[in-house]
Assembly symmetry: D3
Homo-oligomer: 118 residues x 6
Amino acid sequence: MSTKLDEFRTYRTRMNNRIGQIDHLGIKRFFNLDTNAYKDGALDGKTKELLGLVASTVLRCNDCVDYHLIQCVDAGWNDGELFDALNVALVVGGSIVIPHLRHAVETIDTLRSEHKGK
Amino acid sequence: MSTKLDEFRTYRTRMNNRIGQIDHLGIKRFFNLDTNAYKDGALDGKTKELLGLVASTVLRCNDCVDYHLIQCVDAGWNDGELFDALNVALVVGGSIVIPHLRHAVETIDTLRSEHKGK
Amino acid sequence: MSTKLDEFRTYRTRMNNRIGQIDHLGIKRFFNLDTNAYKDGALDGKTKELLGLVASTVLRCNDCVDYHLIQCVDAGWNDGELFDALNVALVVGGSIVIPHLRHAVETIDTLRSEHKGK
Amino acid sequence: MSTKLDEFRTYRTRMNNRIGQIDHLGIKRFFNLDTNAYKDGALDGKTKELLGLVASTVLRCNDCVDYHLIQCVDAGWNDGELFDALNVALVVGGSIVIPHLRHAVETIDTLRSEHKGK
Amino acid sequence: MSTKLDEFRTYRTRMNNRIGQIDHLGIKRFFNLDTNAYKDGALDGKTKELLGLVASTVLRCNDCVDYHLIQCVDAGWNDGELFDALNVALVVGGSIVIPHLRHAVETIDTLRSEHKGK
Amino acid sequence: MSTKLDEFRTYRTRMNNRIGQIDHLGIKRFFNLDTNAYKDGALDGKTKELLGLVASTVLRCNDCVDYHLIQCVDAGWNDGELFDALNVALVVGGSIVIPHLRHAVETIDTLRSEHKGK
């Protein structure tokens, strides 16, 4: 069965390809900069993905939360660590973050069940 | 010479004391919750302070950036690591974050010069 | 027929239960704090729900708007009063609030028709 | 086939009519003010629609983006110009804007295909 | 001694006069709309000022908080009621609101001491 | 006499130099991307500066407003055009934008008086 997360991944891939076709130099460079910001540097990439997750959550962007959760789970953060990071986002951002916390927890559960299904 | 950071610390202490006097149960509990969110848990407190810094930067709150920078330097993050975290905030939050990046770098420099002065 | 509001209520209940299972002390305390913030105090709960509605509207969170509208209608605010509160939110938050005003009015209409159906 | 954009247009018309029925003087005046802000003045309406598009994109409101894209295409902005404006929004607002960039590009493509279908 | 609040009032009056001189029809109408939004209607003006205060606090605008606090004190809200409203703003908006809570409490104290001085 | 705008320019130059010294590749690239976003392209640079002004105003960043006003005046926008753009920002962003409108008008006046002084 196709999940909400599958739909996001399909849509994201399709539209990122379409944006690539536009071939706008500024937009392409921004996408590169965005990718590079999460690579190992003074901080390792794993830590940076958690920073990206918290930034996305307090700014209340579900698609961004989903993207960074996929990366965070890939990077090896466990559920307890993810919930602890989301708690920081909740306290910083307030109750207005709660709908995005619900979404994040649903996505974490989907990602774990995908992993079991493999 | 008194720095902008000294003024923030003095003002913060004075007004937090005043807010304590108000004795509003909900506000007091929120302040406790806020303090506890950065204690060692599934994630260690050092990592959580970095999460708090990035959240404060993308939400563009200079006082919050200052507070979390004080905590981050206390927790042992070095300049390279702090700049790498601020870069994630810059990419997520965009050029609107730049004035807060300037402020953050000024505060980091103040904190390092305080440390040398000891 | 199931409405958008029914879907929100079902999803909200399911995910709040799931978040309860996580049993993260900070998150649980935040949810308690959130519930308590709207109880009778120096201000009565009815007034506080209206404050929550306006805060949710200017912060542009449809799920939060729906939640506070359910509470506001339960608390006895009539349509004229709700529209007057939403007008304050519109003026403070600007035309970017209009899509959330549309959503709020749709939810108010759903809530009133549910009431008639009883 | 009905597109996401068609659904937005239908919903927007239906709910704007419903909001008109409410007959709240403040809300009606706000809607008039909003319409008038994009009329020819010291700046021509075409330029103002592009300003509205960029404002909507950095504030991350898909419905507002759709509305201003419809107006921008009507006003005669071409794709290259729209992408250049969206690039300004992306740099100002950061990677958190990317999901709304995807949405904007999808809407531009829908609008162009509607035009061809005529 | 001139307070921060005095400076805000002087600056606000001077610049509002200057904006009046500009004589831009849209801007003038917006200012009228803004004034009218807080007049007695289905909700009384006193309640609406409290809505304006909470909206300003969660949107984190100190000047707007000051303006609405002046109006709220004039309208007769007491300290306990104002703190209870600010607590709603704190829970909705999160710890990022705390610097604005400090500012609000300082302004309330200034307003009360002005009153005693009369 | 040194104006608030002079202070901003001095501070901005000093801290941008300091950020340059840090020599973080991601941050340097972001600053380049930011500069390039306002160069002539499908849209001319003059139009893009106005887009940057409106984006900065609705996101409520005074330093960003000042920077883009300097650029807009350099690019040849007159006062009537700037006020018309700020009116779009006011309607989109709401009364919460008013303090930034005051700031913008003050900066425009400073820029015009600097020009007369030359």
